[in-house]
Structure formats: C-alpha cells, structure tokens
C-alpha cells in the first residue's frame, strides 16, 4: 500500500463530498435547459471516480515502488514554523491594512514572514520589511499610481 496516494485518494473523495453537499441545493433543470447545479454535480461525480481509482490503486501497490519512483526524495519533515508564519502573513496584512493603512500592514506582515526561516536574525527581518515597504511604496504608489492608502484612518491626524 502506498500511504501517500491512499491519503491523496481520500482527500479527493472528501473534497468531492463537501462540494456535492454544497451544490445539492442548486436546481438541476431550468427554463433554459440544464440548471446551474448539473455541471458541478457531474464534476463531483467524476472526481469520486478518480478518488476511488486512486485509493484502490494505492491499496494494491507495492510500497517499495514508492522509493523507486522518486529516489532520494524522502518526504522530509514538515516545516511547521515556516508554514505558520508564511500563512499568517497575509492574515496579519488583511487585519491591519484597513484601519492602519498599507505601510504598517506590510511592515508587520513581512517581518513575520521573514522569521519563517530559522537563520534570519531579528535585525535582518527588520531590514527586509523596511526595504519592502519602501519598494512597494515606490512601485505601486508612485510608479503605477494605484489608489492605496499608506496610513489608515486610525493613524491619520
């Protein structure tokens, strides 16, 4: 059995299930022929087929073939700190950008993202975030002239 493909197949099945549930209240027919729900339902059905095929294939497969397929490329540990900080950066940005403006939002979120790498020092992270604030300011605000507020209502005096 191939563990990764087994998990992959189950993931597909789960996604198809949730999707079909969300699409189940859509009408299958309309005055114009087929309704808005038919195509999504067909896709979910197709994905169930693929999911089942993959799960069955993974159960039958010889586990030693996994290494053969990708030699020297073991799964490796999940970079938990990296995932958390990188994924948190856009969330921080989204929280800050409306009340405080683009500059603080960018500064704080890039600072957090930079720390995703273990070898980055605090000073290094601070440097990168300051540089990015200035660079994005120059590019988006001055060169491209996009209507972005650098400092939000909470910081405007």
């Amino acid at each position: 059995m191939l563990k990764r493909d087994f998990a992959g197949g189950l993931t597909l099945l789960a996604f198809a299930g949730v999707y079909a549930l969300a699409a189940s209240n859509l009408s299958m027919t309309s005055s114009l022929g087929i309704g808005s729900g038919l195509f999504p339902m067909m896709l979910a059905g197709l994905l169930v087929l693929f999911g089942v095929a993959m799960t069955v294939q993974a159960l039958r497969a010889d586990p030693s073939s996994e290494e053969e397929e990708h030699p020297g490329e073991a799964g490796g540990p999940v970079p938990l700190r990296g995932i958390l900080l990188v994924a948190a950066a856009p969330l921080i940005f989204a929280l800050i950008v409306v009340p405080l403006g683009l500059a603080p939002a960018l500064g704080v979120s890039v600072f957090a993202a930079a720390l995703a790498n273990r070898t980055t020092t605090l000073v290094g992270a601070l440097g990168v975030s300051l540089a990015m604030v200035l660079f994005c300011l120059a590019l988006f605000r001055w060169m491209l002239g996009l209507p972005l507020q650098m400092f939000g209502p909470l910081l405007a005096f």
């Binding site: 999911g51 950066a89 856009p90 950008v97």
Partner: protein
C-alpha cells in the same frame, strides 16, 4: 500577403517607447528569475498579474511574454556555469554545458545557447504569424459542441503529456474546474457554492489562486530544504565559437528548432519536454568528435533551441483558440481577461495590433536577450549570491500588495493564505498544481459551451457524438486515455521523463 500586412501592423505597434521599455523589462526580469532557482516563470508571472492591471493590454502582454522566454535564457546560463538549472527546461543543458565549462569552453557554450535560442525564436515567431490566421478561421466555424470537445481534448492531452501520473493530473484538472464554478451562474444569475458569503459572489479570482498556489505554496516548499548551495563560478573567456563549432551546432539547432516548434503546439508538452526530446535526438544523430553527454556542443545547441522554440509556439493555441498549452499560457489568458479581452479566434480580427504587436515584440525581445545575456553574464551569475531567506519575504510582500491593489478586498488576501496552504498540501501529496490552474481557467468556458450545446439540441446529449468534428475530438481524447492505461506505453512515458532527472 495578409501576414506581411499583419507584421507591419505589429512592428508599428511595438516601436513606441513604452512598448519597447516593457519588452526590455520583461526580458531583464525573465533572465533574472531564470537564473534564480527558487522561483520560476509561472510564479513570477502570477506575481506580476496584479501589476499588469495598471498597464494597457499590449505592454502587459509584451512584458509577460518577455518574462517567459527570457527565463529560458537565464535558466541555461546557470545550468552551464554552475550546473544549477534555473528552469526545468534547462536541466539537460546542464549535462553537456557544465562539462564544456569545466574544459574551459564556457564562453562558446553560452554563445551557442544564445545563438541557438535566437534562431529558434526567429523561426517560431514566423510560425506563429503563419499558422495563426488559418487556425483562427477554422476555429470560428466551430459550434458549441465542437468547442466543448476541443477543450476536453486539450485538457486530456495536457495531462497525458505533462510530468507525473495521469490519474493525479486529471483529478487536479477536475478540482480546478470545480473551483471555477464558485460564484454567480451566468445563465440563471443565482449564486453557487458561495456558502452564503457575498465576497464569493464574483467567484474566486484567478490572481488569488495563482498567487496562492505558485507564490506562497512554493515558498513553503522551499523552506523545507535548508541547505545552502556554494558556488564555484568558472571564469568566462573567449565567448565566440570557432568555425568548427558552428559547423557542428548548425544541424543540432535545426533539429532542436523543429522538435521544439512542434512540441510547443501540443497542450502540456511545452519547453521542458521538448528540451528532453531534443537531447535524446542529439544523442542519436550528433556526429561530432565529442560524444553527447561528455561536453559536446550539440548537447547544448539542440535542447536550447528546442526549449525556446517551444516557449514561443505554445502561444499559437492560446492566441488563436483561447486554449492554454501550459500553465504560463493559462496565466496569459488570465492577464487578458483582467484587461477585458476574452482570448479566442476573434482576437486577431478585433485586436489586430495586440496580436501582431505581441508577435513582433517576441522577435525584438529575443534580440534584447542576446544583447543582455552575452556581455553581462558575470552580473547574472552574481544573482545566485542573494540568499533565499531575504528573497522569500520580498515575494510574499509582492503577493499581498499585488492582490490587495487589484481588488481592495481583504477577503482575497485571506484567500491567498488559504490557497497557499492548499498548494503546499497538494505538493506533499504529490499532486501538481499546474493542471489545477489549467482547469480553473478553462472551467467557465467548458461549462458555457456544454450548456449552450445542450440548449441548441434541446437537452439531447447525443449532440456531442452526432456532429462529426465533435465526435472525432472526443474520440481522440478517449483514445489518449486508453493508450495511457496500457502498461507498455506508460513505462515508455516514464522513461522519457525520468532519464534526464537522473543525472
């Protein structure tokens, strides 16, 4: 004659200060990201999509195209000098190119790569001009059923020709189409799959998906390997190839150009596969004194011509049929849609200066690239000294500001984070994100044609097999799938993709 007139329009359109500037910017950016191994053309173009929003359609397209073929040049530079292929398409160049560099012939290897690419690019540009018109005329006669069948064939072909297991990439295409259904239904106006969120009523933005999957997702994956690579750069001297080199590389360049031009047209194949195919061809046909694999100039000339030719001919299906041959072309379609242009057979007649301008810009861009690359090689290699730990926060900053600048919606920024995590999870499970993007771009078109065909036939699904062209195209898709299920062919396909990886 029509072609000459068209090229006239194109060169007229390109020779403005603004367009030439963006062509140059694209070429420079493309070379830079081609040199850097952590970030590829797909991710860069995804990141720059928001910026193109502020530009006119032609400069936007010129710049993005420049990034794409520019990255092919940059990728080969580092492959030859330090044996780090910056792009998948220059993996085979690293074999002979690096060995030539070790023998002190880095200069001729680099020059060969650049000249081969220039020649291939020129030929491919003419092919685009030549084939685009007849193809678009043909496509204009397609009805809804035929168009549906054509998209199905394109998607199936892209999964059988691309890297990785067919079952997985087909599943990813389906997931992509499913995600594209979220939002307001065009026919009935009702909201679908929005879970009651008004923010999802307009659907998931293309920028958000591509930035999330290719930008953030890639970064998390790159954080996995913390090894720093050390560089031992060879000094480049004596750039120009000798007369004997020219005699050896000419047939290889011709072969590579032919192989690349053809494979670039096929969905999913593109630059990487064509460089592999050209390398196997050189192994068989090259007659030089040095064996291919031991530092032969043919092993550089062939694949480098092939990948550049393919990078350019892959524009043909995108521009004439609105079908992307690879994820980069899917992003181009996204860029056009942001500009309010729906790519398809009508673009050539409705926006002639856009189409011909792009074709003309490719040729100019190739010349820019040769000028940029040969004298400045030392500078480009220096780029490799930038540590990734400073590069990735910058990429993230770009992702966030870019997405926010286009939509001014914080929900979209949050979704970037979500799709980044999803992209990483998919990679862990060894699902490629590229087919998902193809499905996402083509999904709405696929459904529209499907429903239109059923309206025309009053709900009779037999319309897809009663019309000969549609039946033929669907038959080809089925055949492709059946062939892939045969064990013998599957093994052969794996060999094609495995061989160059095991260097």
């Amino acid at each position: 004659m029509e072609i000459l007139a068209g090229l006239g329009i194109g060169f007229n359109a390109v020779f403005s200060f603004e367009n030439l500037l963006y062509c140059l910017v694209g070429a420079i950016l493309g070379t830079a990201i081609g040199v850097l191994p952590g970030i590829g053309a797909t991710a860069t173009i995804a990141l720059l999509l928001p910026i193109t929003f502020a530009l006119d359609p032609l400069p936007a397209l010129i710049m993005l195209a420049g990034i794409y073929y520019g990255s092919q040049y940059g990728g080969s530079t580092t492959a030859i000098l330090v044996r780090i292929p910056g792009e998948g398409s220059s993996v085979v160049t690293a074999i002979d190119g690096y060995k030539m560099a070790q023998k002190g012939r880095a200069g001729p290897a680099l020059a060969t790569a650049a000249l081969g690419s220039l020649f291939a690019g020129t030929v491919a540009t003419f092919l685009i001009a030549l084939f685009a018109l007849p193809l678009s005329h043909l496509a204009l006669r397609f009805g809804a059923a035929e168009y549906f069948a054509l998209i199905v064939l394109g998607l199936v072909a892209s999964s059988t020709l691309a890297h990785g297991p067919v079952l997985k990439s087909l599943a990813m295409i389906i997931v992509g189409i499913m995600l594209s259904m979220v939002g307001t239904d065009l026919y009935t106006g009702s909201h679908r799959l929005t879970f009651g969120y008004m923010a999802l009523a307009d659907g998931i933005s293309f920028v958000v998906i591509s930035v999330g999957l290719f930008g953030i997702g890639e970064i998390i994956r790159n954080l996995e390997n913390t090894t720093q690579q050390d560089l031992t750069t060879t000094r480049v001297k004596g750039l120009f190839p000798t007369l004997r080199d020219f005699r050896l590389m000419t047939p290889s360049i011709l072969r590579g150009t032919a192989i690349g031009s053809f494979l670039g047209l096929l969905p999913g194949a593109g630059a990487t596969l064509s460089s592999f195919a050209s390398y196997s061809a050189e192994k068989r046909f090259a007659k030089g004194p040095v064996k291919v694999g031991d530092g032969a100039i043919e092993g550089v000339a062939g694949p480098e011509s092939a990948n550049n030719a393919a990078a350019q001919t892959s524009f043909i299906p995108m521009l004439t049929l609105g079908l992307p041959a690879n994820p980069v072309m899917a992003l181009m379609i996204g860029a056009l849609i942001i500009q309010g242009i729906r790519p398809g057979p009508t673009v050539i007649s409705s926006n002639p200066e856009l189409f011909w301008g792009l074709v003309a810009s490719m040729w100019i861009g190739n010349i820019f690239l040769v000028i940029l690359n040969l004298p400045l090689i030392g500078l480009w290699v220096r780029l490799l000294l930038i540590p990734y730990r400073y590069l990735f926060p910058a990429i993230i900053a770009f992702c966030m500001v870019g997405v926010y600048a286009v939509s001014l919606s914080t929900v979209e920024v949050v979704l970037v984070s979500f799709f980044g995590l999803m992209g990483y999870a998919l990679m862990r499970l060894r699902f490629e994100p590229a087919p998902l993007l193809m499905g996402f771009v083509l999904g709405p078109l696929l459904e529209e044609q499907f429903r239109r065909a059923l309206i025309i036939s009053r709900g009779d699904p037999l319309i897809f097999i009663e019309r000969p062209i549609s039946a033929g195209l669907l038959g080809c898709s089925l055949l492709a799938l059946v062939l892939m299920a045969l064990p013998g062919l599957r093994k052969k396909r794996n060999v094609v993709f495995q061989e160059p990886e095991s260097i």
